[in-house]
């Protein structure tokens, strides 16, 4: 009985870019980079939790960054400071950092609303003495880039900031590489990254029911020793090894 749903009071909830919000509240649980929490909405028509990755944890302060992409995140963005919401304890398998060695280098490859989880990861890697650089791609307007405690390469689809093109074009153009690769972003990007860097760790997304492993709503096809299986993104993931993911759905 190590899991529960907490009621937290929102300390801040504000737009940091067009359709991108940052929410923070006090949260006493230990989180690993790559894990997520379930946020439950207050209105009674929308019942299912919204999974949002940990963006930053400092002391007891948890910060999440989410895109306003539908009715639920729209409602979330309307909550004001002081409003209470239900939040789960940390969930899922975060990035695999056990084998990471001091002095080696890591590249974090993020696209759009996939960037937030890489922030907490960058701090964790630096703490382990790993050299970190981030390659971040945006459609247009960038966000969070100044928060990364490392060298950041920027790319944008429209050429509004940094390199004109996607993150992989940028990586190829600059000939960037590292010992470890970590990525989060749109499915098409993750697939391209996994083809280029097969030993990348990917943070995957899938529509969820429960978000804690009870319903099998959120599966991701992966290659295993004994064939292809469907693993739970909310529990076996969200982090998977790029080389294991089967991309046909």
């Amino acid at each position: 009985m190590d899991k529960k749903i907490e009621i937290v009071t929102i300390l801040e909830n504000k737009f940091i870019a067009k359709d991108v919000c940052e929410i923070s509240f006090n949260y006493s649980f230990d989180v690993e980079p790559g894990q997520f929490v379930n946020l439950y909405l207050n209105s009674k028509d929308k019942l299912l939790p919204r999974p949002i990755s940990v963006c930053r944890k400092e002391g007891d302060l948890l910060t999440l960054v989410y895109g306003v992409v539908g009715k639920g995140t729209e409602e979330l963005s309307s909550y004001e400071k002081g409003c209470k919401i239900r939040v789960s304890t940390p969930l899922g398998q975060g990035f695999y950092l056990d084998q990471v060695e001091r002095g080696k280098s890591a590249m974090l490859i993020g696209g759009g609303i996939g960037i937030p989880p890489l922030l907490e990861l960058s701090y964790a890697l630096l703490e382990k003495g790993v050299r970190v650089e981030a390659v971040l791609g945006f459609k247009e307007q960038p966000f969070l880039i100044d928060d990364f405690p490392c060298n950041v390469h920027l790319a944008s689809d429209e050429g509004t900031v940094g390199f004109h093109g996607n993150v992989l074009d940028l990586i190829k153009a600059k000939g960037l590489n590292a010992d470890y690769y970590f990525s989060c972003g749109p499915k098409a990007m993750l697939k391209a990254v996994a083809e280029y860097f097969p030993d990348v760790q990917l943070s995957m997304e899938e529509r969820m029911g429960c978000g804690y492993g009870a319903c099998l709503g959120c599966v991701c096809k992966t290659k295993e020793a004994d064939g292809i299986t469907r693993k739970k993104v909310c529990q076996d993931g969200p982090v998977f090894w790029g080389r294991d993911v089967v991309w046909d759905e």
Binding site: M1, D2, K3, K4, I5, Y40, K44, D45, K46, L47, L48, P49, G72, E206, R207, M208, G209, C210, G211, Y212, G213, A214, C215, L216, G217, C218, V219, C220, R230, Q235, E249
Partner: protein, 314 residues
């Protein structure tokens, strides 16, 4: 509206008996988990499963089922659609990996059984009958692939044959879970009663659909899926009420139960026990909370046993 503690309170809470006897199996209280919305390891991380009346597993087939493509989940107003497609590893791994975990709790175990043919159901039931599980729940909403994919649960004769065959090969208490996607649920209820069922559970999900208007396609990869949650409660309650008047078997009622009050509605409509499904996805400890709310209701209105909870005037 605060609680009113009547005389029952004075004589102590020990007077209150929440236990029920379902087809010969004693449950501590009338609350179980609805199949597919409960997983022993994951739900057990939130609360002590021994607190429940029984634990119902997700559907178990003979060999591994892959389930359907993703997305498998869609949210609807006051409910949700799922098309998990009964993904599971099959009865062998179930017995080896899941069952030992379930046995750790002091709570009867109900195994939900699925199949694509009568033979497949029978093979699962055979294997499970050799174990020390307590009850079987036949999910008869599966498509019968030998009859053009028509669901066993929508055709009284097919439902009868299935239950009759299964009945012959097991002595375990046999629950049959009915599909609500029928013109007359009492017809199916009567035919599975005649075929030897010990208990009925209802309802399974209603068939539904959602469309993503921006993408111009169904939200679910499978297009249609099963609707569950509070939205369907009135339909479920009506069906329990109808079936109660049609058969003598005990009934496990479910469909949108979110609160103790909802549970009471089902008990009053004629259910002997209830299952909590979608509520567990929204609040992982829902079955426990609902049990506690049911107890509070009994104290407030001075009910001494679950049996006393029924409609007044008929």
């Amino acid at each position: 509206m605060d609680l009113y503690f009547g005389e029952g309170m004075l004589s102590g809470m020990n007077n209150l008996d929440m236990s029920v006897n379902i087809a010969g199996v004693k449950w501590k209280n009338p609350i179980t988990t609805a199949s597919g919305t409960f997983s022993v390891r994951e739900s057990g991380a939130f609360y002590d499963l021994s607190e429940l009346g029984a634990l119902t597993t997700k559907g178990v087939s003979y060999e591994e089922w892959e389930g359907t493509a993703t997305p498998r989940i869609a949210e609807t107003y006051g409910g949700m659609l799922n098309s998990i497609g009964l993904q599971n590893k099959g009865v062998g791994p179930f017995i080896e990996e899941e069952l030992p975990l379930l046995k750790k709790y002091d709570t009867p175990i109900i195994v939900n059984v699925v199949g694509k043919t009568i033979e497949e159901y029978c093979r699962v039931v055979e294997r499970l009958s050799e174990t020390d599980i307590d009850m079987l729940e036949l999910n008869i909403s599966c498509p019968n692939i030998k009859e053009g994919g028509i669901s066993f649960g929508t055709e009284p004769k097919m439902a009868f044959s299935l239950v009759e065959k299964v009945r012959k090969i097991t002595k375990k208490a046999l629950i049959v879970k009915l599909s609500p996607n029928v013109t007359d649920i009492t017809e199916i209820a009567r035919s599975v009663e005649a075929a030897g069922a010990d208990c009925l559970s209802l309802i399974n999900t209603l068939l539904g659909m959602r469309i993503d208007v921006a993408k111009r396609k169904a939200v679910l990869a499978n297009r249609v899926g099963g609707l569950s949650g509070p939205a369907i409660k009135p339909v479920a309650l009506r069906m329990v009420y109808e079936v109660r008047r049609a058969v003598n078997l005990p009934i496990i009622g479910m469909g949108g139960i979110m609160t103790g009050e909802d549970a009471v509605e089902f008990l009053m409509a004629g259910a002997d026990a209830i299952s909590v499904g979608t509520a567990s996805l929204i609040d992982p400890t829902a079955p426990l909370r609902i049990k506690n709310e049911l107890r509070e209701f009994m104290l407030e209105y001075n009910y001494k046993s679950i049996k006393e909870i029924e409609l007044l005037e008929e």
